[in-house]
């Protein structure tokens, strides 16, 4: 430690002693104490303005800083050291500046002046350290202030100054790209350097210039391409030079940087690319590959070949090099090969496909970095022809892969399976395998999507529920598998028991009703099940209670157990479901109908993020709303579509509690209330309230009980639960609620179709005349500068309330639309069913159209006219667009 003079009279310790005593500390507390003592001494020295030990104190501070202690009080000392005259002080001062400060600190501005002086210093080493500091920490302001000095130093006589100035310029033009043009011509001169350091730095400066400035790129491409190629030729063919030799190659660093500059120059310029072909071929074929240095050059060369303008011969050469890399035993080489192949796919997918088997092996590597690369590559390699075999390989591997890799792997598999789903059965099979292996790792939207697909594959319901039943027996610990199983047993439990819809390849299994309930009971009792799983299980149990009457009592027992659950949601549902099973046999079966088919297009649209995210909000609310507190709120569905309920008929405002969401009950037409005695009105109503059975489409005037007011009264007057227990006896009159579907919308996180159901039974009001066969004129329902929507109408014979609307959309703008989604909302007296649209992309200038059919049923036909709100979402150049409007010009009488 010669440069830190020992002064026996000094009170402070030497740097070496301080380091030693810090290292001798056995605990963190001891270390802190030593550091605190040292810092105090340094502060004292600073306040005394001690010159003699500034040097040593700064060195100590840097060490303390490295240990992670605060050292801001030393920042000014650095500046003072830099401002002093001697080289030793300046050297440590600049080191401290680079170490203790970063470019965002205001203090840094104070050093600009010292830097300027040092850049003009007569001592080359002082200029050198000033350039180094400037290159490492300069901010944009400093770059502007000091650029002229650096520019001048690019022409210094000393090559070591030139090289430092060149790299300093790299930083300056990164910070202030406007300055690039000042550096263009000095940079070009540097390419003629003989000194390797200056040449390397010059090459880097040119590369950076090309990146930040189009003008510089043109200039250098014209002026220097030939020169760079020649320099590369010289260095490739140079004889042995011990000073620069690494593993038999002269200066691989220079090789690599020259290749990188050629890449920038050749990209997008056929002439320049053509000019460098020969030398690239020479590098690619002649480079020694048994050492890392050679491989590094080859790697860079391959990248340059892939990036410059097309030369098929060279590209074959490059891909072959990558193939060799891929079979190399060195992990590093394999890693870079995978990395490079990902980029090569865009150029020559076929050539990369040839290495598929090897790449697939890399997915199973023990090295996480390689696995990750390989998996991404495999993902890019999947196409229609190899999807089955690749998926099989990946799923097989999923069984044995590391726990921490399962998340990534299963996400990729799901993504592949979704993207290439050939047929539904294959999709379902693959997804079940993934869920059985890695059900704890998949994201929610994966199993949501699976449920939508299952729901749509009506011929596979039986098969699916049986497969799930089998999978559950072996992989019951996988959360999302449990959820899907539970949902399917709830919906299709009877198919499980009676082997309905048997496929040829399937082996029959014997499952009794109580076996099915066993599954649900297991799911309910699993201690790892979270609230979503349990809530889904409760609903499935409730559904089974009506499907398997023999098990009803057992189901009830299971449900009753959860009446005391700590989770409010589960407790509340248990109590409600218990009541339904015990006291409302008559409505139970209709209440617990199967879900209607979930609408795939809506789900996909929503998944694509084109729908408002209010779904999330409604999920949240369904969890925490207290029982019986029925507020007159609009139906969440309507909320979603932003439909005001001004023009809705009275009953609808009775409100649909979020409970409805959970129960999935939405009776869209009233029970045949006409048969009810006046005395039972209120009880019925409060029951409806409790179950939150919305009755939005009362149409029978004669039976137009004042349900709304009744309901309000009942909720105001009493807790509905009490009411329920007291009223149940009086509910002797059969309430034959017409069948209605039960969308479990919120539980499934908004999977349910956004449109109200159409399979509800609608009553034809007796007073209305039939309007079969009438012809209605077509209308232009919506028109904006960019979009036109036309409706034509027809009626179904025998169903005067229902109108079939054929909508035609045309694009009036000059841009193509993609992800086109049409949504409509109607007042509550109207029911709407949307069929899928003919396409989701709409060509520009009216050169094509999307058509979509939908069905509206006006339950107050003759009294109220149709009205509709529409929302049309699409993407133009990847930007989301949204158009909305209201349609009031329907032909009267619809």
């Amino acid at each position: 430690m010669a440069d830190l003079i020992i002064n026996p009279f000094s009170s402070g310790t030497r740097l070496r002693d301080m380091i030693r005593s810090i290292r001798a500390c056995k605990t963190a507390a001891e270390e802190r104490a030593v550091v605190r003592k040292e810092c105090a001494a340094i502060r004292a020295a600073i306040s005394e303005n001690d010159h003699d030990y500034r040097h040593r104190n700064l060195a100590k501070l840097m060490f303390i800083h490295m240990l992670g202690y605060p050292t801001h009080f030393g920042q000014m000392e650095c500046l003072k050291a830099i401002a002093s005259a001697g080289f030793p002080e300046k050297r440590i001062g600049y080191l401290g500046l680079m170490l203790l400060l970063d470019e965002r600190q205001e203090v840094l501005m104070l050093v600009t002046n010292s830097l300027k002086q040092d850049l003009n210093h007569s001592n080359q080493y002082i200029v050198g350290i000033a350039l180094c500091a400037l290159g490492n920490i300069c901010s944009a302001e400093m770059a502007r202030d000091l650029a002229p000095e650096v520019e001048r130093l690019l022409q210094s006589r000393d090559p070591n100054i030139r090289k430092k100035a060149a790299l300093c310029s790299v930083r300056i033009i990164k910070k202030v790209p406007d300055l690039a043009e000042n550096f263009m011509s000095p940079a070009a001169v540097l390419l003629k350097e003989k000194h390797h350091g200056a040449l390397i730095s010059g090459v880097q400066l040119c590369t950076e210039l090309c990146k930040v400035s189009e003008e510089a790129l043109d200039y250098l491409r014209k002026k220097c391409t030939e020169g760079v190629v020649k320099v590369l030729k010289d260095v490739v063919n140079s004889p042995y030079q011990p000073e620069y030799d690494i593993a038999g190659i002269t200066d691989p660093f220079l090789h690599i940087r020259l290749l990188r500059l050629l890449r920038v120059l050749g990209q997008g310029d056929a002439d320049a690319s053509d000019y460098m072909n020969d030398i690239l071929a020479q590098v690619a074929t002649k480079t020694e590959t048994n050492k890392n240095a050679g491989n590094a050059i080859l790697y860079e060369c391959v990248e340059t070949i892939m990036s410059i303008e097309d030369n098929s011969g060279l590209r074959v050469l490059a891909i072959n090099i990558l193939g060799r890399f891929l079979s190399n035993r060195d992990n590093n080489i394999r890693y870079v090969a995978l990395n490079m192949l990902m980029r090569a796919i865009a150029v020559d997918a076929q050539a990369v496909q040839r290495h598929r088997a090897t790449i697939l092996e890399c997915v199973k590597d023990t090295d996480a970095s390689i696995r990750k690369r390989a998996l991404e590559l495999v993902y890019l390699l999947v196409n229609d022809s190899n999807v089955k075999s690749l998926t099989k390989e990946l799923i097989d591997y999923l069984e044995v892969s590391d726990q921490d890799f399962k998340g990534d792997l299963s996400a990729k598999i799901c993504s592949i399976v979704e993207k290439f789903s050939l047929e539904k059965i294959w999709y379902i099979d693959q997804m079940l395998k993934v869920l059985s292996e890695a059900g704890n790792f998949v994201k929610d939207d994966v199993w949501h999507a699976l449920i939508v697909v299952i729901s749509n594959a009506s011929d596979l319901h039986g098969y699916t529920v049986r497969s799930l039943y089998r999978a559950f027996q072996t992989s019951g610990e996988q959360e999302s598998l449990v959820r899907v199983t539970v949902w399917c047993i709830g919906e299709y439990g009877e198919m499980l028991v009676n082997n309905m819809g048997m496929l040829n390849k399937e082996e029959p299994i014997t499952v009794t009703e109580s076996d099915a309930v066993d599954v649900l009971e297991t799911a309910m009792r699993r201690h790892t099940s979270d609230i979503t799983t349990r809530a889904m299980t409760l609903i499935a149990l409730l559904k089974l209670s009506s499907r398997f009457p023999s098990c009803s009592q057992r189901v009830n027992d299971i449900i009753v157990e959860h009446k005391g659950n700590f989770v409010l949601e589960l407790q509340q549902r248990s109590i409600e479901f218990n009541k339904i099973i015990e006291r409302h046999q008559n409505i139970r079966s209709t209440l617990l109908e199967s879900m209607p088919v979930l609408d795939e297009t809506t789900y996909n649209g929503r998944k694509a993020g084109s729908l408002a995210t209010t779904v999330q909000a409604s999920t949240g609310s369904s969890i925490s709303l207290p029982n019986g507190d029925v507020k007159p709120t609009a139906v969440p569905l309507v909320d979603l579509l932003d439909l005001s309920s001004d023009d809705t008929p009275a009953p609808s405002s009775s409100g649909v509690d979020p409970l409805q969401d959970l129960l999935g009950v939405d009776l869209t037409s009233t029970p045949s209330v006409s048969g009810l005695e006046g005395s039972s009105k209120a009880p019925v109503d409060s029951l409806l309230d409790l179950l939150s059975i919305g009755t939005p489409s009362v149409q029978n005037d004669s039976s137009k009980l004042d349900i709304l007011s009744a309901s309000n009264r009942s909720t105001q007057s009493a807790n509905s639960l009490d009411m329920l227990s007291s009223l149940s006896s009086s509910l002797a009159t059969p309430v034959s609620a017409p069948a209605s579907s039960a969308p479990m919308m919120d539980l499934l996180d908004g999977l349910s179709p956004i449109v109200p159901k159409t399979d509800t039974v609608t009553f034809t009001p007796p007073g209305l005349s039939e309007t079969n066969g009438s012809v209605y004129p077509s209308i232009t329902a919506f028109k904006s500068s960019s979009l036109k929507m036309e409706f034509s109408f027809s009626k179904q014979p025998g169903n005067p309330q229902t109108t079939l609307i054929h909508a035609t959309f045309s694009n009036m703008s000059s841009n193509n639309y993609t992800n086109f989604i049409f949504q409509a909302a109607v007042p509550k007296f109207v029911q709407l069913h949307l069929d899928p649209a003919s396409s989701n992309s709409l060509p520009a200038n009216g050169k094509g159209s999307i058509t979509q059919n939908f069905k509206v049923t006006n339950t107050q036909q003759g009294q109220k006219n149709l009205a509709m709100r529409v929302r049309i979402a699409y993407k133009v150049n990847n930007q989301d667009m949204l158009e909305q409007g209201q349609i009031n010009n329907f032909p009267p009488g619809l």
Binding site: M66, M98, R104, N136, Q204, I246, A293, Y299, T366
Partner: protein
């Protein structure tokens, strides 16, 4: 470009840090903690690259020290391994068979050497000899200044006796 250079001991102690991209003190501590967690736990036969926050960290272990450099996605990992080795060879030549203790007690020397090798996160010199020569010249400049200083103080001491 190289965003930062880290030297971490096998026990997770930091021996040298150099930041070429702006990171606040807080971020620096976080980066070091995160990376030492990842790198120190990797097995010996695995590749020397770790993907991290959209960048790549190239590391190599020499005895008890891990040399790490963080680079951009499109940079050449294999070359960075060579740069690390280049740095180690220069240190080795300077200290004469370098060990961790040399870098602890003479940490500032290690920084001076690194500053002759890299500026602004780019390589400035491919010749080990040139780096050694420049460092030696600057060291002797410091020596001379010191001798002068001590001779002056001697003279003053003599004069004031």
């Amino acid at each position: 470009m190289i965003h930062f250079v880290l030297l971490i001991s096998r026990q997770g102690k930091v021996r040298l840090t150099k930041w070429y991209s702006p990171y606040s003190q807080k971020e620096r501590t976080k980066v070091i903690r995160e990376l030492s967690g990842v790198i120190l736990t990797r097995g010996p036969k695995l590749c020397n690259f770790v993907e991290w926050r959209g960048q790549k960290v190239v590391y190599k272990r020499y005895a008890s020290l891990y040399f790490c450099m963080c680079i951009d996605q499109e940079d050449n990992e294999l070359e960075v391994l060579e740069i690390i080795h280049h740095f180690v060879e220069i240190l080795d030549r300077y200290f004469g068979s370098v060990c961790e203790l040399d870098l602890i007690f003479n940490f500032h020397k290690a920084y001076y050497i690194l500053d002759e090798l890299l500026i602004a996160g780019e390589l400035q010199e491919s010749s080990k000899k040139t780096v050694a020569r420049l460092i030696a010249a600057q060291d002797s400049l410091v020596e001379t200044a010191k001798e002068e200083a001590s001779s002056i103080s001697n003279i003053i001491a003599q004069a004031t006796k």
